[in-house]
Subunit: 282 residues, 2 copies
């Protein structure tokens, strides 16, 4: 496994694979890797000849009150984990390598589907994601790019701009990796106290309960209210509990596939999760 | 020469060239071709193995009061002209082929350098250019893309987002093609009455005079005022006469290379032109 820190080095490392027209898989990350990330790499390994993982903590997707400076940087450990799952090239550029010295004047925005859910509290966040992911796509030029369904809204935003801009690659969404007790894996889980870690699986439990309710005929609004009540009773401060179509359009009732979304704080840690519920006309 | 009207057809036509790693040159146009466009194709022919020209009247770069519907469509004549200068592939998609049936939610904006000159009167115009050019770049994936310096601000905007987004190609700016009397070639020249056509070269003459004044020590503001007066005296209604750095930053005096910009109406026809003036420290 090679690690490249410059665009030039990355291009040189990819050049033989491109010349041989190998299938290139790409997994963009911000590092601090866990099993969820590693499963993205394992998926890429299955489908592709060459697997590239980027590790870049992207300043422009952090808000002014978000903690860019203290985001965990664990490159050596990440490199070891990536080597173990068969990554070929790690691309770990500096901020200067990514954004250069001259001011960036270009922005990419995706309307409508970024307005609510996590977008409501993070103005500009998805613009920052769209810009950095587009830049990385242009540097790596992969055939396939892999993203986790845990950040479902991010995945939907990326699918949208890839389609709207005809970016020549296929986006693969990979199902959420969960701990044995159901908690969705996240870098943020490390911030939980032992006590809060024990409560955290209630999020997934409440989503599963709601899914069962929906398939047995409970109204969508009632199912969402049950999630809210369950989380509040368990000690969470609910940020949002929402249902959307798989393409993130608003839905009023369970008459099509829906995705249930939760964002809730326990202590100081904000956790998100989601669950898709298939609709079968009876 | 092949003409392709679908993205799929374009991809199929380009596939052998890509497999053979040929150098691909791309000239995006809105059709209604004149010698200026043909010179772009000739430049591409010199540098590249395969030359692709797109002909697409892009609805999203027209404002609500601009005449998208009546923009001249002259595909057969354009095809003949392109065949004569050695174009390999014409890509002439429909609006539906380019934008599909589902709503486009993604926008690309370039700040600062789109605020004035032609941007001031055409809100959203350069966003529409950035989106369509990015889409076309992703469809063709050329090594080189050719744009005329006549639309200097457009060229600067394209250079900017290509750099900001790391789009893997080189943008080539091609000098303005002029009629024997100096008038910059433009689709719009066809709208001029014989009388106005006779006056139109005054734009370039006034730019040349200003360039001479600058190199012989006249203050920048005086040189710009001379252009304004000359054009007004000749019967133009001046939209703007401005000086900028080659990267479109504002300049106060002639102590670096500058580009002089003119937009002016004669009758109902708005003409633009520009001239770069090199600075040599004496």
């Amino acid at each position: 496994m090679k690690t490249e820190t410059t665009i030039q080095g990355l291009t040189a490392s990819l050049s033989p694979a491109k010349a041989a027209r190998k299938i290139i898989g790409f997994v963009p990350t911000m590092g601090n890797l866990h099993e969820g990330h590693l499963n993205l790499v394992r998926e890429a390994r299955k489908l592709c000849d060459v697997v590239v993982v980027s590790i870049f903590v992207n300043p422009i997707q952090f808000g002014p009150n978000e903690d860019f400076d203290n985001y965990p940087r664990t490159l050596e450990r990440d490199q070891q984990l990536l080597a173990d799952v068969g990554c070929d090239i790690v691309f770990a550029p500096t901020v200067e390598q990514m954004y250069g010295n001259q001011p960036r004047l270009t922005n990419i925005s995706v309307n409508n589907i970024t307005d609510d859910l996590c977008g409501a509290q993070r103005p500009g966040h998805f613009d920052g994601v769209a810009v950095v992911v587009t830049k990385l796509f242009n540097m790596v030029q992969p055939n396939f790019a892999f993203f986790g369904q845990k950040d479902y809204q991010q995945l939907a935003v990326i699918r949208q701009f890839v389609r709207d801009l005809n970016i020549p690659l296929e986006v693969i969404g990979v199902p959420i990796t969960r701990a044995a007790d159901g908690l969705a894996l996240s870098s943020r889980n490390g911030y939980l106290s032992p006590e809060h870690r024990e409560i955290a699986p209630v999020i997934y439990q409440s989503l599963q309960t709601a899914a069962q309710q929906l398939t047995s005929g409970t109204a969508l609004s009632d199912a969402l209210n049950t999630i809210r009540a369950t989380l509040t009773d368990a000690g969470f401060v609910v940020d949002y509990v929402e249902a959307r179509s798989p393409e993130l359009q608003k839905v009023d009732s369970f008459n099509q596939d829906v995705v249930l979304f939760v964002a809730a704080k326990i202590g100081k840690t904000r956790l998100i999760d989601n669950l898709q519920v298939k609709f079968t006309a009876s």
